[in-house]
Symmetry: C2
Subunit: 351 residues, 2 copies
Amino acid sequence: GKSYRIASIPGDGIGVDVTVEARKVLDRAAASHGFSLSWQEFDWSCERYTKTGSMMPDDGIEQLSRFDGIFLGAVGFPGVPDHVSLWGLLIPVRRAFTQYVNLRPVRLLPGTTSALAGRSAEELEMVIVRENSEGEYSEIGGRHNRGQANEVVLQESVFTRVGVERIIRYAFELAKTRTGRVCSATKSNGLIHSMPFWDEIFAEISAEYPDVHAEQCHVDALAARMVQAPDRLDVVVASNLFGDILSDLAAAVTGGLGMAPSGNINPMGEFPSMFEAVHGSAPDIAGQGIANPVAQILAGAMMLDHLGETVAAQDVHAAVEKVLEEGAVQTPDLGGKSTTAELGSAVVAAL
Amino acid sequence: GKSYRIASIPGDGIGVDVTVEARKVLDRAAASHGFSLSWQEFDWSCERYTKTGSMMPDDGIEQLSRFDGIFLGAVGFPGVPDHVSLWGLLIPVRRAFTQYVNLRPVRLLPGTTSALAGRSAEELEMVIVRENSEGEYSEIGGRHNRGQANEVVLQESVFTRVGVERIIRYAFELAKTRTGRVCSATKSNGLIHSMPFWDEIFAEISAEYPDVHAEQCHVDALAARMVQAPDRLDVVVASNLFGDILSDLAAAVTGGLGMAPSGNINPMGEFPSMFEAVHGSAPDIAGQGIANPVAQILAGAMMLDHLGETVAAQDVHAAVEKVLEEGAVQTPDLGGKSTTAELGSAVVAAL
Ligand SMILES: CC(C)[C@H](C(=O)O)[C@@H](O)C(=O)O
Ligand SMILES: CC(C)[C@H](C(=O)O)[C@@H](O)C(=O)O
């Protein structure tokens, strides 16, 4: 059978706990579908940073470039400033491999309840298409008159036509395969350079897709709408920062952060894509065996799908849904007393 | 009795509808408490812009400077680009009058229901303290290679020590009068210049307030938390953009956008402060008499409080709560069939 080379980077905190379980599930799905996953594990993490002064080796990106996929747990740990840990691993990988799409599907899974009152599962299914390579997350900026009364700090956002066009086009293509609706997050009333530009390109590209219903909404109003009227939202396209906020929010209004996967996708396939959970490393509950592995397992299913193993991906989804629906095995965040490993094993058994 | 000079700018859309009702209520409260409000109305709006090419006259700021308070409906109308309407009126007023605090209290009022399942009113009371004079909303930036394949757009965020210190200090002072808890919204993992600076000043100032419980939370996680676990939030301090998003969200998880007032406050009182609703001009329902005037009435109560008329402000609050609790007069967003004017008159009667 076919074999895929996967780089596994469990990272920190519960990233380690959930990755183990997800790998069990993915290996089982592979075995049933006649392919295999050849894992190589990397200890790149805040722990490594504390020992060596860097999150990954100098040739880290080069090493990863030889893989078919990257499976990331989570990075971040108290004592290591976030901007060090993230800009030393997660963000460089996203950028070096032109993973310009961050795809974050959310839906209310069976056996779970929404934080919102009186909403059905159908009203709570959407996908956030987040720009993942530029925008508000830029290295440009700095501090002037450090520590003085007249200190000023600048932080530049950088939007390019190439970057904005490709993410918006991706969202429209995706909408054609779903409900045919796209909503763009903007804030052109406050951010008068970047967002009018974003809106202009959105208008240009929506003209190419007369069959897709296109609308735009200010990010503040859109956040409110996710809570008050999520039913008319399906594909939501957003800049790096807005997509980050809206995808956490979308996860919260559906089944919670323990359930939401995230794909950092290089659509042309010249470079490996990377799959992870939306949640972070949650150091407070790390190593206790209580983290919910569902998001990481579903991230694995996204990876299988991306590798072309569509049926195996669907099976993993179905197995997760079966276990959640039965409700016998639930981690504490789902209201149960089961461990991370028990939930992982239940999904393996359901396969 | 004392008389206060108030500039009323109903603006556009439902701003006009709700301002009329709020004025009725405020005049009645004034009459009962032995003071008066001397209103002067300004037609500054998108309509004016369409006719004259500007939202307000050249000496608009100077005219407003002579008032004790500014009462704003809402600005914005289809056809007038948002960045024109807002930067031609709302934002210049905020900045010219150093209204560096945007105070947005939210709570679940009696007779209304939260979008969240199973939350009590006590869990849903908080106040967003939004920085209102700098940060992400800056005029600095521009477009390079317009329309070309290699087009680049820059948008600068500008944070100053003075600006960040004063808003964070305001939040801590406010927390002392409430539950003694402050949560700061950050995103230092993505925005590596501005937000580490914000966090540093937050840490400095929290050291001055050992009795206030200070924590920080990334804005994405904080948005999720407002939905999944709002109960431990009270004072939330945030930058201009984050405060904008979080305050709409906070309004949505409590009683909805029809209920949330907003004060643009110049704490030292050298300049007039401005009071408005969090919601916008909602052109789709304008002029139909169905807009909910509660947010605007409560904005009026904030104005009375700011003017020192604390008891009158409390009375307005109590009257609104009485009407909502009785539930006989409700606008469509509250599930009823009453008009804007009927709800306004009911509050007047309750006074
Ligand atoms: C209209 C817009 C510029 C404004 C803002 O973002 O400041 C509004 O959303 C608000 O919250 O007052
Ligand atoms: C950890 C952080 C830098 C990251 C981001 O904002 O991109 C995370 O929140 C995410 O959403 O993947």
